[in-house]
Each structure stands twice: as C-alpha cells, then as structure tokens.
C-alpha cells in the first residue's frame, strides 16, 4: 500500500531538510513542471486525477482552478492561499503534514501556484501551530536559498513568493473568504459568493484557496500521473486520505489510507477498537461540524459520496467517537459552545441562534430543561440550515445538533424527566 503523503514522515523525528527532501525525490515535480509543462498541463493533470478538496467540502480542486482567469489579460497579481488553519475540533491531519514534511506542502504550493499563474502564495496557519510555523519558516527560507522561490525560478520566467501568515486564532479564519479578509487585515467575516475567490479574492484579485492536504497531493500527481492517483483509492474518488480518530478508542491517531476505507476498518484496525469497558454509541465522521453516525453505519466507506449518502459528511475525515459512558447532551453542548464562541457575529441566526442553543442545552444538561426546549432546539437546528446563514459555520454547527436530536432524543428527554444528567448524577 502506497502512502505518498506520509512517506517522508517519521514520528518523533525532525522533518527532512531541503537536501534530504531533494535526495528523496523532492522538488522533482517542480523541476519537471517548470521545465516541461505549461500551467494548463499541471492543472489538467490535477483535473484528471479528480483530486477532491480535503478541507471539508470535497470540491474538485482542478475544477476550482479552472475558474481562474488565465493568460496575459488576467488581472494581476493572482494569489494562492493555502488553508492551514485547521481549527475544526477533532482534526489534526494538516498538522501532521506540516510538522512532518513541510517541504511537501511548499512543493505542492509552488506547483498549484504555477498552475494558476499565481504571483504570491500565502500559507494561513493556525495560531497554535507553533512547531509547524517554525518548521515552515525554516523550510521556506531554504527553498528561497536554493532558488526554487523568488524571481524567475530556475530560469523558467515564472516568479513566486510565499508568505507564512499566522492566524489571529479564530475558527472563522479558516472559512475561505473569512481567511481572505483576515489576510487583508480585516475582520474575518465571510464574503458573499458570487463573486467567488477564483475571480475576485484577495484584494479583489483572482485567488485560489486550498487545504494543506489537498495541496500536498499535487507533487505526487505531477510526478506519477492521474491514473496512478486514482489507483490509490478504494473507490472512484482518487488518492489516499489522512484519516484520524479521537475519543475512547485504544490508539487514537492519524493514518494515511486509501480513500474509501470503511469506518469499521478505521476504528477496529487502525484505532485499535474501543477501550475496555466502553461501547461505541456514535461518531462524528469528519470533525465537529458533521452529522452523527451510529454503529449501524460502520460499513460506510469513508469517501465524500458514501458518507453523504449515509446522511453525514466526510468533512476532514477525522473521526470523533462518542462512547456509552459519556453524555451525548454534554458532548453536543460542548460542541455548540465552541461554535457559538467562534461565530463571527455577522449573521443573526448564527450568533443569536447558537447563543440560544447553548443556553437551552446548558439548561437541559443541568437538569433544568423543559420538554418544549427539545422541540425548540430541533427548530433551531432547522433554521440554521444551509442557505439560511451567510456562511457554512452555522449549518456546520446545526449538523451535530440535529443528528443528536435524531439519534439520542431519549437521552435529551431523560435529562428533562430526571431533572439531572443521567451520566453525571449529583
């Protein structure tokens, strides 16, 4: 089984420096592309590979790039923004990639930028990722030094600068247009779409936003081709995926596996199954903002299409496990507290609805809830649905709430009837 994304990563070791990285075949894809491929050919390779965005929405990366105006009339400068904000609770896959092999990300960024003829690339990094920041900064300096960044890279006529931008530290900064505002030094409110960033992004110029993991796939696609990439996967969605699991499993962690690995395999084999004395009650398949699935869903293949068919989303592909000895209401309250805290404050359903939801959940969890509060929560979850708010934060927040009410409703009702949390008796 090939693991291209993590081949260079050795747990507990410093990442490869530029020389070691090059010795292992690193930056070969950049040399190949700049010497012998046009930007359109790079973009086409990614398009053929069917690389789906790994930031959560699964949008086809090559397709996204194809909306960028190209050629000499295109507005300049153009930008690539690498989304390394990774603040989704339960998600730590990009961290692994950046701390473990920073050059892979930089190589991917150079290639992606080349494909859209970007002049400048930003890596927008989560505030708390200090180690990644240090390693990326060091790596970028090394790449400049070796002449693979800056003016007229290896005489190709192509120039690119990469800046590392460390976030102010808010979940909303990871939403792609919120991120653009944050880079511009504005409040991280989202922007209205259309226009999409591909035509009007940073400072009103064409901009592509991609997730770290998405970008990290690009060098391998350029080196090995689309058919190879598609072969890596168990399903028709190409490539490998970095999956992860947290919660009361025996060995929580992150693993690179073929796209479409089943939930069962992930939990039982890679995460080592549930800890002794704990039973699986439910799970969030792809981070905090995805719908709960239950043990009945363990056969679901973890790719975008299959998880959606099962009623949730692949999201970031990092599973959060709910066990039978933890209170589902408490878990949902914890999640909603996060979303309410991180709401950017732009649209009322989100800042108001989530404050309301947290209040109701707090009361229920404390045994002070009323039956009608559960209906109220249900209608709130519905009202925060897609299209009702300005960006996807609120719909994301509604997903675990709505699905918890669907799968664990009796647990909510027990809190009301017993006037206390059954898991946490006084």
């Amino acid at each position: 089984m090939e693991t291209p994304l993590t081949a260079n990563i050795r747990s507990g070791h410093e990442p490869s420096d530029i020389d070691a990285y090059r010795k292992n075949g690193g930056y070969r894809a950049v040399l190949k592309a700049l010497r012998s491929m046009s930007p359109a050919e790079v973009a086409q390779a990614v398009r053929d590979a069917g690389l789906k965005g790994r930031g959560g929405a699964g949008f086809d990366a090559g397709l996204k790039w194809s909306f960028v105006p190209m050629g000499s009339d295109a507005p300049r400068p153009k930008y690539l923004a690498v989304n390394a904000d990774e603040m989704e609770p339960g998600t730590f896959k990009d961290r692994l990639l950046m701390e473990g092999d920073p050059h892979q990300l930089i190589e991917g960024a150079i290639l992606s930028a080349y494909a859209i003829e970007a002049d400048v690339a930003y890596i927008f990094l989560r505030r708390e990722y200090r180690l990644a920041a240090r390693r990326l900064r060091q790596a970028v300096a090394g790449v400049y030094h070796s002449g693979l960044l800056g003016r007229n890279i290896i005489g190709s006529g192509y120039s690119l600068d990469i800046h590392l931008h460390v976030s102010g530290g808010r979940y909303m900064c990871g939403e792609e247009t919120g991120m653009l505002n944050a880079i511009e030094g504005k409040r991280a409110n989202p922007r209205s779409k259309p226009p999409y960033p591909q035509t009007s992004g940073l400072w009103g110029k064409p901009t592509v936003v991609n997730n770290v993991e998405t970008i990290c796939n690009v060098p391998h696609i350029v080196n090995n081709g689309a058919p190879w990439f598609r072969e890596l996967s168990h399903t028709d969605e190409g490539g490998t995926k970095i999956y992860g699991a947290s919660g009361r499993v025996r060995s929580p962690g992150a693993w690179e596996l073929p796209m479409g690995t089943t939930l069962n395999e992930l939990i039982e084999e890679h995460a080592g199954g549930m800890q002794d004395g704990y039973k699986l009650r439910g799970l969030l398949p792809g981070g905090a903002s995805t719908d709960f699935l239950t043990p009945a869903h363990l056969d679901v293949k973890m790719d975008f299409g299959s998880v959606e068919a099962a009623g949730s989303r692949l999201g970031t592909g990092t599973i959060v496990v709910l066990d039978d000895r933890s209170c589902p209401v408490g878990m949902v309250l914890n999640l909603e507290r996060f979303f309410a805290r991180e709401s950017c404050g732009w649209c009322a359903p989100c800042w108001g609805g989530l404050q309301f939801a947290v209040e109701l959940l707090t009361d229920i969890e404390a045994g002070q809830g009323r039956m009608e509060d559960i209906d109220l929560l249900e209608s709130l979850a519905k009202m925060l649905g897609p299209g009702h708010t300005y960006c996807a934060l609120a719909p994301g927040a509604a997903e675990p709430l709505a699905s918890a009410l669907k799968f664990f409703r009796e647990d909510f009702e027990r809190h009301v009837h017993e006037k206390q949390c059954p898991w946490n008796r006084a």
Binding site: R191, W346, A348, P349, Q355, F356, G387, H388, Y390
Partner: protein, 907 residues
C-alpha cells in the same frame, strides 16, 4: 421592466434591483435591518427572508434573503409563506435575546425600527431564559449618545460611518453575540457626519445627544419641513419643537440634495434658536448714545413709523435672511437704496458666481449630481469645512468609476461584494488647495499652492482641453504634468465636475473653474460646475439686484440717506471696522432686525427681535440655484416677529402683505429671475380633504396640561396664516405633497424608515418629485461669437504668485465647527470649535523664528493681532492661514489681504 410573482400575483418591477427593493417599492411590508436604501445589501441580519419557488409547480421552495436575491424576470416568491414567516420570527427572537427591552427609558422609543419590525414580525413572548450580554458605553462627544446593550448587530453604523462617510474611528470589535460597535476608546467621533448614526441605527444604541438634554418623544414633537441655515447647500431638514423650544433637527429626504443625510453642523447647529442670546423684545435707545430699553412691539412700531416717514432710508439686507425678508426691505427702501448685505469682496465673488452659472454652458449641479460625477477637480475649496455635505457627496463620486467597471460581475446593490471587489480603487479626484483637506486621503492628487497658483493650474487644464482657452505663462513642469493628468481624466469622464467657490476669496479661481467646466461642455456633454457660497441665501442675495454693504454706507455718507435698516446682519463680521464705524457715526437712525444679540444689534438705535428659521416661513436659494421654502415649526413667541412682518409693518403700506406668499408673489413680479418660487410650494389656502396638514402627530400629548398653570380650559391652537400647515394635531396626517411633508410616519412604520412609504420607489425621489425649484439653468451652449462683454473664456490667467518681501498672503481656513455664525451658539458645536490660531509653513515659521505654539503678531490693514502658531506642513511659503470667524477673529481677516508677521515679543 421585468415581471416577478409575489404570492402568485404578477408585478412589473425595474430590473437591476434586489427583491427587497422591489417588494418595498411595491408597498409590501417586509421587515429588514441591515439593508438601507443608501447603503444597500449585505445580508447580515437575515430578517428579510422570503420563500422562493423554482416555478409554479414548486410547492416546497427555499428560504432566500430578499435583499441578496436579484429581482430577475420570472422570480416567484412568497412573503406570507409559513416557513418564511417562522424564520423571520426566529430572527427577531435572536436579535432580541440580549436586548434590554428598556423602551420606556430609551430615546429611540416611539420612532424605533426595532419596535416596528418586532411588531410586524409578531414576536411577543420571550423564550430565552439565559443571561443577556451587556456592555460598557463610551462617551462619543457632544453629538451622539451610546447605549451598546441595545445593539442588534446589524452593522449599519460602521457601514455608514466607515464605508460610506469615510470615518476611521468607529469599528466593530469582538465577535459572536458580543460585537461591540464603538471607538477604540471613549472620545469625540471624528467624522463631521456622525449625527447620522442616530438615524442610521435602527435601535437606541446611537441617539441624538442634543435631544437628550431636552428630550421629547417623536409623537410629542411638532415638526415642519425646513431648510438648513448653516451653509449654502440647502439641505432639507425636519426641525422638531415642543413647548416653544427647538429640540432637534432630523433629516428631510430630498433626492436631489442631501438624500438621507445631514452634516453635524446642520444637525446640531439649531440650538442658537434656544440661545440666551436671543433678542426677545424690541429695544429702543434714548438719544444717540443713551441706554437701550425694552419696549413693546406696538411702541416700537409707533416709533419706527415716525422715523421712517420722515427719513431717507437705506437698507442692508442679508445672505442669511430669506428672499422674502430681503425683498420686503428692498420694497421699503427702494431698489436704489438696497444693499445685499455682503462685503465688497463677497459681493463681487457672488456676482461672478451667479453670472458664470447663468451665462455659461456648464450646469450648476445638485448634490445628487455630485454624488454621481465620475471625475472631479476641486479648485481651492476645503469643502469639508465650508460646505460639509459636499464632502460626503464626493466620497460617493470617487466610487463611480470602479463600481461601473465592476458592476458587470457584481450587482451594484450587493454592497459587501462590491466593496470587496473594488477595494481601494477610486475614480479621479484632484484637489488643489492652500492647506490640507480631509478629502486629500481619497484624492488622486492633492496639490498645495497659493490661490493664484491654483487658478493658474485651472487655466492650464482648460487650455489643454481646448486650445482656444488662454494658458498661463511660465507654469512649472510639475504643475504642467498635474494639469495634463487632470485634463486627461476630466476629458475621458462621462460626468466630469469642477468644484470651486468663494471660500478662498479669489475671483481668478472662479474664472479658472469656469474655463475648465466650459471647455468640458462641448460635443453634447454638459460638464458640472459646483460653486460654493458661504450662507444659506447667498445665492438668493446675489440674484437680487443690490450691491455691497458699502453702497448703503455711501448713501449715508453722501447724504442721500440718513437712516439705515439692517436686516439679520452683523456688519461687524463682514465689513471693515472703519466702514461700520462710519455708518453708526453718520446715520441719524440705525434700525436693526435680528434674532440674536450681536455687536451690531448692541449698537442699534432700534433693535427688533426677528424670528429664526424655526419661527418663520421663507425661501432660500441654495448655491445650486435651487429655491426652497421652509416653514415655521413653532409660532414666534412674545414680541418676536418674522423680519418681513417687521418690515411690512414699519413701512407705509402697513397692511399690504398678510402672508409670506404675497411677498413671494410680489418678488416674482418685480424680479423675474425668481419667477417660479411660489409655484414650487403650496399656498396658504391649500387643503387636503378640506384639512390643513398637521404639524403635530396624532399622539401629541399634554396639549391642555402644558398650560395648566395658566388655566385648564383648552386653548385655541395658534393660527398659521402663512402656510397650509396647522399648529395642531387636528388636520391631515397622511402623505402631503413633498414640499409639505412635516415628518415621516406611516401605519406600522414609526421610525425614519417610514420614508420608504413616501417615495416613488425606495431610494428614489419622493412621490411628486424632489422639492425645490431650480432658478439657474446653463446657457444653451458657449456661443462661437459671444456678445460682448462676455468672452468665450476668461482671458486673464493670473501671474505667478510672488508675495511682496516680508508679507504674507492671508488664506482663509474654515472649520466645520466654529466658522459659521449661528451654529457656534450650540453648546456642542462650541465645544468642538478650535481656538483662534495662525497657520504657517515650517519654513516660514523657521524664518520668522517662531516654533509651534509660539505667538505671532500680525499687522493687518485694520490693526494688530496676536495669535498662537500652528505648523501646516504643506502650506505654500508666503501664505499664512487664518481661521475664518473663529471666536475673536470675526470680521478681522479679509481673504486676499497681505499682512506683515513677526514673532511676538515675550510679554
């Protein structure tokens, strides 16, 4: 037009708008918060949700935000849909989670959009049991009160203040349900448009602090249509009064003029009406120099008729008095004896201004045309301080070009997307002034020069655009390249505009501006020309044949007159002290009519208390040339009378005029330039359904109680003979014709947003047209062989500026707060007015050996003056800036004068 379906019924609506625009224009009650007709859509509040259906077979539909959805052909929506209604109720519930529900103690109560929308949406029961978030408020200065806990996070305040008005010190802080709208710390709001926050904010967060000091609810305010008296732009206002005192000014929409906004001078200057310096009783002086004693109006008039009947009378009118008052004076003294009330210099400038606009091919533009101009040259004027709303208009005009370039991809009403796409791109705005202006920050080029050099630049631009226009000799290469850039930008524009004015006191600058605008008015294009003037009726006074003050003084000196009547004019502010001295020395009788006790009133033989704008009716002609009628808000009290009534009463034909409309009619007959001013308003006999229009709202309270100390019988409301408005709540309460709208109110719409119901379409003109009658239209074209003496262009560019050795040219500097005569009596405005100073360039100050804060001694034509020095980095050498009419400087500085300056000896 496109067809949309609302509740399955077809409607024709204009394309290129969103569904909220369309629905409101159709008269539907659809609630909203973050949208504003001047600020457009951002989709933040989600209050305007409706259900959209794919086609007639789609029964499920989906929720969309009306303000973010184009009104495209065939769109089908339902406002009434259950889910949409429930969603809107949900939004209000969320907005109200943290709201303190303190309406009884909230200044917004009774005119609160949040109250209206809450009622409209049907949210009446609180389900949220948690704690509310609360905030600490800030002291934002004398104009705007801050009560943040009432905020619903609609973002209108920061969008108006920052995005629309260019203010940099109000922002949104923090996030989630805790967004704080304020300054980084307590402090006076810097924008001269801050008062609009009180109307923009749909809740009681930002309210009018001046109103707070003498508070009355909207339903307790008597209101009438009025016009601002604090500069020449003629912004439309709605003053509100109660118990005989003026409580506030709010905006009166005029799509061609001020639109939705006012400047802070216009909004907060009103308190001079309540000032303790009001003259409330006639004063009669014993002999020439005896004490002045109060007398009754009857006694004063008896004495006046005696004086008038056996004197030869000259009259000095006023650019701050109405046309009617000026005309009544002109009638009283005869045309030959009537002076306009302007200084020599102001008169010349005003004459030149009106002639350029009347006789040339460029169009005197409205403020709305300024907002829509796409390339602008400002020659000499510091518009922010001289005519503030022009600043706000220019901040919109610089967006024209980039928005036009972007609007293919993004609908212009999607304000958020548009601003993010446009970013900092701005259309051409060139500014040439002696001292820095606050518009410099958005200018393509801001150039500092002496007035003559500014004129030369203008002449150069004109000559580049049209070879037959004269070019100045010996222009420097930097000036040449600036002129080239200006000529290119204006030449390419669709709606080029030149702004100049009388502020600098330079005729050459006016001529240069005319030349530029005239060269641009060719080939089917009419360029805009905006020439600013200082006072509310400066243009009216310029159009009324008369002369400078000196005309009356000469009449007295020559003996052709022995008595002078001075109308609403503090001569000490306008004429040289020697001239004033002469007048008071030589005249047998000096009769002064004014509303405030000023140095001229103080020396009068007879002083008569005049009504202010708030207690009188009249017509002002704005600098655009727009004649606008204002109506009294409250009757004059006690012995106070309208100036024209005093004048009519003291004259021989004491009973000729009974109402102000008759004065206006006679004015039109005598001076055809004013014809049409009455047609634009409705006569005193106008009635709707047999009723007068009520100045008081239906809910006006305490009518009997307010005079209970005198008697409990309900008194007859005062009668208003002058207009079709009544001093009462009896009368018509609906929608009158635009010039007569006393307030905006409609059932269910108690806030200013009721204005939507008075417009042809939201954001569009009032139903029935924008008030006012333009008296000046451009000449059809610049004739090839113009009749003498008017040349096709002004032909004499000034020589390069070179001050005589050891002398400085005095350049007048204006202050929004402080330079204007009446508003300075408002406590808030006084608080913000700077103290007198002298501005010098660093180099000149060094040469003189004066540091910042040092004292300079000026030797002017009229005497010596000591002023602290402020350094103005970019002031041209040889030019000294002196603030106009700040306290202590009234009448001292005449623009264009050369003075000696030295470091004051330390004493």
């Amino acid at each position: 037009m496109v067809q949309i379906f609302v509740e399955n019924k077809p409607y024709e609506v204009k394309p290129d708008q969103n569904l909220l625009d369309a629905c409101l224009s159709l008269g539907f009650d659809l609630p909203y918060f973050c949208w504003h007709p001047a600020l457009h859509s951002v989709g933040a509040c989600r209050q305007c949700a409706v259900k959209q259906f794919r086609d007639e077979n789609d029964t499920s539909g989906r929720i969309v935000m009306a303000c973010m959805t184009p009104a495209a052909n065939g769109v089908r929506i339902s406002i009434d849909d259950r889910e949409a209604r429930a969603f809107r109720a949900g939004v209000i519930e969320w907005l109200m989670l943290n709201h303190p529900h303190d309406c009884p103690v909230c200044d917004e109560g009774g005119e609160c959009h949040l109250q209206d929308m809450t009622v409209m949406t049907g949210h009446s029961r609180r389900r949220y049991r948690g704690a509310k978030r609360t905030f600490i408020n800030q002291d934002l200065g004398p104009f705007v009160n801050h009560e943040m806990s009432r905020c619903i996070q609609c973002y209108r305040c920061v969008r108006f203040y920052g995005d629309y008005a260019g203010g940099g010190d109000l922002a949104a802080f923090s996030l989630r349900s805790q967004v704080y709208f304020g300054r980084h710390q307590s402090g006076v709001l810097e924008s001269p448009f801050s008062g609009n926050l009180a109307e923009i904010c749909p809740t009681g967060v930002f309210t009018d602090k001046s109103l707070k000091r003498h508070y009355a609810r909207k339903w307790d305010l008597e209101t009438a249509p009025s016009v601002c008296v604090h500069c020449a732009l003629g912004c439309n206002t709605i003053p509100g009064a109660r118990y005989g005192s003026l409580r506030r000014i709010s905006n009166r929409f005029n799509g061609a003029v001020n639109g939705y906004f006012l400047c802070d001078r216009g909004r907060y200057g009103y308190e001079f009406v309540n000032s303790p310096r009001r003259l409330r009783q006639p004063l009669l002086r014993k002999g020439r120099s005896g004490p002045a004693a109060p007398v009754s109006a009857t006694a004063a008039l008896r004495r006046l008729r005696e004086i008038i009947s056996d004197s030869r009378v000259a009259g000095i009118g006023s650019p701050r008095a109405s046309l009617e008052a000026n005309f009544a004076l002109r009638r009283l003294v005869g045309p030959a004896m009537f002076a306009s009330g302007m200084s020599e210099g102001d008169w010349r400038l005003a004459q030149k201004t009106s002639r350029i606009l009347k006789e040339g091919p460029a169009r005197s533009v409205s403020l709305d045309e300024v907002r829509r101009a796409d390339a602008v040259l400002v020659l000499g004027e510091d518009v922010t301080n001289f005519a503030p709303m022009l600043d706000l208009a220019l901040r919109q005009s610089v967006r024209q070009m980039p928005v036009r370039e972007t609007s293919g991809a993004i609908p212009p009403w999607d304000d958020k997307a548009m601003r993010e796409a446009v970013q900092q791109r701005r259309g051409p705005l060139f500014i040439a002034t002696p001292a820095p202006t606050s518009l410099d920050a958005i200018a393509t080029t801001a150039w500092r020069a002496a007035p003559d050099e500014i004129a030369r630049l203008g002449f150069m631009v004109a000559s580049l655009l049209d070879k037959s226009a004269p070019a100045p000799a010996g222009l420097g290469s930097r000036e040449r390249s600036i002129a080239t850039a200006i000529a290119a930008a204006l030449g390419e524009a669709e709606r080029p505009l030149v702004i100049a004015g009388t502020g600098l006191g330079s005729e050459a600058v006016l001529e240069a501006a005319a030349n530029v605008a005239w060269t641009l008015s060719a080939g089917g294009r009419t360029a805009g020309l905006c020439l600013t003037l200082p006072e509310a009726n400066s243009m009216g006074a310029a159009l009324m044949e008369g002369g400078p003050i000196s005309r009356a003084v000469e009449a007295i000196e020559s003996g052709s007159a022995d008595t002078v009547v001075i109308l609403e004019n503090d001569l000490c502010r306008r004429a040289a002290p020697s001239l004033v001295e002469n007048l008071f020395e030589k005249a047998r009788h000096v009769i002064v009519i004014d509303s405030l006790i000023n140095p001229t009133v103080a020396r009068a033989g007879v002083a008569l208390p005049a009504a202010t704008f708030a207690e009188s009716d009249g017509t002002f002609v704005s600098s655009e040339g727009r004649a606008q009628r204002y109506f009294k808000v409250m009757p004059p009290s006690g012995e106070v009378m309208e100036s024209w009534r005093w004048l009519a009463a003291m004259g021989p034909a004491a009973d000729a005029w009974r109402m102000v409309g008759e004065v206006a009619k006679d004015l039109e007959n005598d001076l055809p330039v004013f014809s049409g001013i009455s047609a634009a308003v409705y006569g005193a006999g106008f009635r709707i359904s047999g009723q007068k229009i009520a100045r008081q709202p239906r809910g006006y309270s305490g009518r009997t109680a307010m005079s209970a100390d005198i008697g409990v019988a309900e008194r007859q409301p005062p009668v208003d003979d002058d207009s079709p408005l009544s001093f009462s709540m009896e009368g018509f309460q609906g929608e009158p014709p635009p010039p007569l709208i006393p307030r905006y109110w409609a059932p269910g719409w108690n806030s200013v947003q009721a204005l939507n119901k008075f417009q042809e379409e939201v954001g569009g003109p009032l139903r029935g047209g924008n008030p006012g009658r333009r008296l000046i239209e451009p000449a059809p074209g610049r004739p090839e062989q113009p009749p003498a003496p008017q040349p096709p262009f002004f032909n004499l560019p000034p020589a390069p500026f070179s001050p005589p050795a050891g002398r400085w040219l005095l350049a007048p500097l204006y202050h929004t707060f402080g330079s204007e005569e009446l508003s300075i009596l408002s406590p808030g405005i006084r608080q913000l007015a700077p103290a007198a100073y002298l501005a010098l360039s660093q180099k000149d100050a060094d040469d003189l050996g004066i540091g910042a804060g040092g004292i300079a001694e000026l030797e002017t034509a009229t005497g010596f003056l000591r002023l602290p020095v402020r350094l103005a980095e970019t002031l041209p050498s040889g030019v000294a800036g002196v603030p106009v009419c700040l306290e202590g400087l009234e009448g001292i500085v005449s623009p264009g004068e050369y003075v000696r300056i030295r470091a004051a000896s330390r004493k």
